[in-house]
């Protein structure tokens, strides 16, 4: 999993934002969405998700609210308008980057000769 963690580095913020695209979630639900949405490839220790969420909150990209569930305090996060804009921008950047990498990596047929 070390290689997967390395691959995730630098992309974690935008992936966390993407997990909130469909509405508010709490920490464990975010971790599950990240794991399930990646087919199990991005399965981070749950406890390490929270500091990253706090950083995104300080950056104004997400906002958290406390509630009480089964007698426990729970913090749920949702995207802010700034976070939605950032996610849309990063999605566009990623598509361009992925298209460029794919174009270079995929074998292309030689031009047909007459």
């Amino acid at each position: 999993m070390k290689a997967e963690a390395q691959a995730l580095k630098g992309h974690l913020d935008v992936l966390l934002l993407a997990t909130l695209r469909d509405g508010p979630r709490h920490g464990y639900a975010i971790k599950e969405t990240l794991r399930d949405g990646s087919g199990g490839r991005f399965d981070l220790p749950t406890g390490t998700i929270y500091p990253a969420l706090h950083r995104l909150e300080r950056a104004g990209l997400i906002t958290g609210t406390w509630s009480t569930v089964d007698g426990r305090r729970r913090r749920s996060y949702r995207l802010t308008t700034k976070g939605q804009r950032h996610l849309a921008s990063e999605r566009g950047n990623w598509r361009q980057f992925a298209a460029a990498v794919t174009a270079l990596l995929e074998p292309t047929p030689w031009p047909a000769t007459p």
Partner: protein
């Protein structure tokens, strides 16, 4: 707490080294993880062990919190800009002949010692990798820096016989640092 001694012990280990707000959130996450494993048919001890394995070792979690701690980041920023301030204030004090200003020696010594203490607190916070509590030294460091900036501005206004041109850079820089640093106080002092 969560209903299993292993879960409680894990949370207690985190509570000793992290702020209460973070521990509340972690407790909810760990309890939720434990409940999911129970729902899958694990017995309570197996569910607790599986939940803890999925959640992460306390050292791993605390390292992640420490790396992202607001105190660590603030301390790094203040230390990174320190040489710029020295480059502004050094020539200001030399060209202004600060040693001739009517400031009692004990006050000047206290200023120097306070500056050393502030730098030590900020370096300790900035270099912390596995101790969240060390990053919290950024709060007294930042408050001390604001007080020192205020003191040096007061000294210039009250004790300097003339203003010299490097002060045109140094004074606005210190005023900006006071304002920007004060804005971080709520975040640094939050528990």
């Amino acid at each position: 707490m969560a209903g299993h001694t292993l879960i409680d012990a894990h949370l207690a280990a985190l509570a000793r080294r992290l702020p209460a707000r973070a521990v509340d959130e972690l407790a909810d996450g760990l309890t939720e993880t434990y409940a999911r494993h129970l729902a899958r048919g694990f017995d309570p001890t197996a569910a607790a062990r599986a939940a803890i394995a999925e959640f992460g070792h306390p050292d791993q979690i605390i390292t992640a919190f420490t790396r992202q701690a607001p105190g660590r980041r603030t301390a790094l920023a203040l230390l990174a800009t320190g040489p710029g301030f020295a480059a502004c204030w050094g020539p200001s004090l030399i060209l202004g002949h600060a040693w001739t200003w009517p400031i009692p020696t004990p006050v000047a010594l206290a200023f120097g010692l306070a500056l050393l203490a502030v730098v030590a607190a900020l370096v300790t916070a900035a270099t912390s990798r596995h101790s969240y509590s060390r990053t919290q030294l950024a709060a007294p460091g930042a408050i001390g820096l604001v007080l020192l900036d205020t003191a040096v501005l007061a000294a210039v206004l009250l004790a300097a016989p003339t203003l010299v041109w490097p002060m045109a850079l140094a004074i606005p820089a210190s005023l900006a640092r006071i304002g920007l640093t004060a804005r971080t106080f709520p975040r640094l002092l939050a528990r």
